[in-house]
Symmetry: D2
Subunit: 309 residues, 4 copies
């Protein structure tokens, strides 16, 4: 990877995004997110080896929201293995991230682990054999491990805000419970889910956190994460087909890389064998993905000729 070329491209992109007028809409359904300044933009590229490359507000922490679903799935797969797929599918849903329709047609088995319903089932898996405090501790330890930083943390204000405005997620969880696909009390599962979504990371941290998906265990050097390359590939496949809600097909077409977005405005993208990228801009498009973060990734991928295809 040509570090100088990457630095030049992301600096250019950050400048371009700073000027952009049409920035989408900041998520309003959680009060805490609605207060974020929409002018901000950050981008970071973490090569498999070497230092992370930054542009814009790449060190400003933001709420990762649904991007956390990638980390939760990684943990859940390492514990439950392929048996997990009895309880959650791996197909794109064709519906918005918080839809309950498919849950009814498919009897409480969510379409994939990257929509809210699926991530709630994953939270239930993460409670297996430990209480909620232990489960969140494990989750944070995993993040500390993959980012190589000790200070990764839950944002307490966002967490409180999630909890207070949670009716739709409560509906999803109750519905899954009604169909017999939760093993722990609904409230406990939701607590873990809300807490995990409230993780705050900067672009720099998020890009570093994603490196294990770019590298697999083969190439990641001395790091403590041991993930078989086949598992990294499969998580990337899920990000590609299901990572951006009902715009996943469009993102695959435009960006050509596995991506996972969050309503906090962040997007994590993986260039297998090369690097992990994190882009962040709070305004969302009508599908709930960051408008400018996606445009930045499209621009960068094209400029660097990064595409899995």
């Amino acid at each position: 990877m040509d570090r100088a070329a990457v630095q030049a491209q992301i600096s250019r992109i950050a400048a371009r995004m700073a000027r952009e007028k049409d920035r989408g809409q900041v998520a309003r359904y959680i009060p805490e997110l609605a207060q974020v300044d929409p002018q901000q933009f950050g981008i970071a590229v973490a090569p498999i080896k070497g230092e992370v490359i930054l542009a814009g507000q790449a060190e400003q922490p933001f709420s990762v929201q649904s991007i956390s679903k990638v980390f939760a799935l990684t943990l859940a797969l390492s514990r439950a293995g392929a048996g997990l797929w009895q309880r959650v599918g791996r197909e794109p849903s064709g519906d918005p991230f918080n839809s309950i329709v498919q849950l009814e047609y498919e009897k409480g088995v969510p379409r994939n682990p990257f929509i809210n319903a699926g991530a709630i089932v994953i939270s239930d898996v993460l409670l297996e054999g430990r209480d909620q405090q232990a489960a969140i501790a494990d989750y944070l330890a995993f993040l500390a491990n993959v980012t190589g930083e000790s200070q990764v943390a839950i944002d307490p204000a966002v967490w409180a805000s999630e909890r207070a405005t949670s009716a739709r997620n409560r509906a999803l969880a109750q519905f899954i419970a009604a169909e017999g696909n939760l093993r722990h009390p609904v409230e406990e599962v939701l607590e873990l889910y809300f807490q995990q979504c409230s993780l705050a990371l900067s672009c720099a941290q998020l890009a570093k956190a994603g490196r294990y998906l770019a590298a697999g265990c083969r190439e990641m050097g001395a790091g403590p994460v041991s993930l078989p390359v086949s598992r990294a590939r499969r998580i990337n496949a899920l990000m590609m087909t299901c990572g951006c809600y009902d715009a996943s097909g469009d993102v695959a077409y435009r960006v050509g890389l596995p991506c996972k977005s969050g309503v906090g405005g962040g997007v994590l993208a993986i260039v297998p064998g090369v690097a992990a990228i994190a882009a962040w801009c709070p305004g969302l498009d009508e599908k709930g993905n960051s408008k400018l973060a996606l445009e930045a990734l499209e621009d960068l991928a094209q400029s660097m000729s990064w595409s899995v295809f």
Copy 2:
């Protein structure tokens, strides 16, 4: 690409598939397809450069059915450009290949060009400025071009069978027409659609036909196809997210390559920068994809460590 390794793997796989007892169900909805011998299996790998590598009944022609949608889309994109995406989406549908439900909710705009409804719109695009005979001639010329063979042909018996058992596709086309998304007479559009689906190719021919997606125009040598690499990448992206109906997510997870399947039992897979693969076995799984062709691709991809992720 290690030709000897590939030959060894596909020979092993062909032998394994010959022994397999559980072969799925041959498609019954077109009488002509129902008569195909389910014992057959073929596989072919066409490297970007060099001869195609074969195993099993790789030279036995079969009905490509929906795999033809890849070629039709390629032609339509080269003519209509990005304006095409006003008339057909690029998202996974989450529904079976012949579903009419989403058409109603989305007012006659099919979810993607790889479900029947979407391919019917693509046929309409291919009729722009020419009659049906000219349109099918162009289509066959394109195939002759990409395969490098002059004898690619429509199977008249399958064509007649398609036409005679076409009620569901007629319903889709009428519905799209009712919503104003067809510009030519329904019957003409359907004729082209049925004809194009009735293309017969062997695995060897199909793999050669797919090379332009593996290479883009950059590397394909003296061939007459000139496809910008960005377009090849985008077609691959669509194959990845939408190529195997409502099992696309599952196939991405298991195989890790862009694939397009047909109810004739064929699957085309692309290893970008390396090769195109065609596998064929008539029996289908419950989602309408060839059971053993997918297992063969999963096996080969894993053995060769081929994955876009």
Copy 3:
């Protein structure tokens, strides 16, 4: 029935409706219907015994459209009996009159005989043992019989218009055929369906035509129609639950009588044991029912204290 009171009420109502500004939208999807003058309004009450009572343009013929489904069902029930209910349901659909969604979920068995899909199956039943010409002749003979008039006729301009703008109905019919629920060629079934919808009647004629449902065979005097009272009651029940598309519940609530509407602006209502009522005004509400015809029926039912409840 107090004839003078009825006359007073409907004259008052006709005067009120003539003044009404907000008249809804004339149906535009059939060109012939789009040309009808929206200022017109007619109403007629046909008591079980005695002359029909008229107000407004009650002798102006209009296109009955879906109201014809009541007569077609009556004929089909008298021929096929309860076996009919294997091929069409008797539940409200909860969806618009021309929806195709439920057809897919319920495998080609339409929800009820009063939505388009259901009436197409009824047309297929009416072709049993006779060709299309004989079938339409029988249908017109039935109408002549129940109205006591020989000149009831199909409007050829509307018929031609229906045929020419029929894509959605063709889609429905093809879909039903694809699911194996049609026994005659799709084109023949549709011809009968279009022809039957194109029947032109005045309010006076339509009200007379409906008397057999108000009376059953018990009380209808010397007329030639012999319909068991239990069958009349059941057709009324279907009109109540399914007669006004996805506004049937609302109409039952507001009017309290079994009603069947058509997109030509007509509504037939039944006061069991008392009279049949026809009201007509071309402008439709957003559910496809005549805005002012329904208001007129609501007003009349309340004024006369006519309600089945």
Copy 4:
């Protein structure tokens, strides 16, 4: 009304139902209901004037379950008036009683007050201006009033059972809350909902409770309920189109009377101007309505020639 004829018919029907082998399935989703003896059958006819007429186990209390929705709606309409219809529709849903699909498509406005989602909104209305204890006291006072009995009561075991197995109803309530269609805390609304469903009445009591719908205020004598006849008619209309879930059309066709069923096996039917009928038999058909109670009502309606049509 010929009392002797009614007594003869219901005695014959009770004897017939005692012999019936195919009794459907007792509701299993609430443990308390699953323990009810399926052999029981009761029927009661309450004429507008005069004593109630009984047969079978007509004095055995059972859980009225969804039949309570009729009483809750009556109270809510008397308080909120027509404004209620901004928050809940009056169309048949076409879906099962506990479906959440339509709630999503229609943004938290339930289709009608007789499906669970609609009744939850009604409970919210009943909490307006009073706490949950006052609300349930009002509800019981209304029941005491219409039945003329002071001992009507909630069954505490059923109530506890409802609460403990309430995930699906919790999901519905949370979803409605998420769409902004609840004004009180979800838990409070659900408590009232569960309590009201747990009302225990015998057929004799239930038939008496229904008389106000058969009579309107005009004819009901000295009773303390004052319900305008127009309101009674409208509640009857809703029972006709929406009272038996997605079998409402079928019940209208077969029985011809407004009916409301409950999963406890009871059905309340109204013969306007004549009587209210309660039938009870615990076994349900696949739509969740009592199999034999409906057959009994069909038999009785036919024998007495009772039909609104």
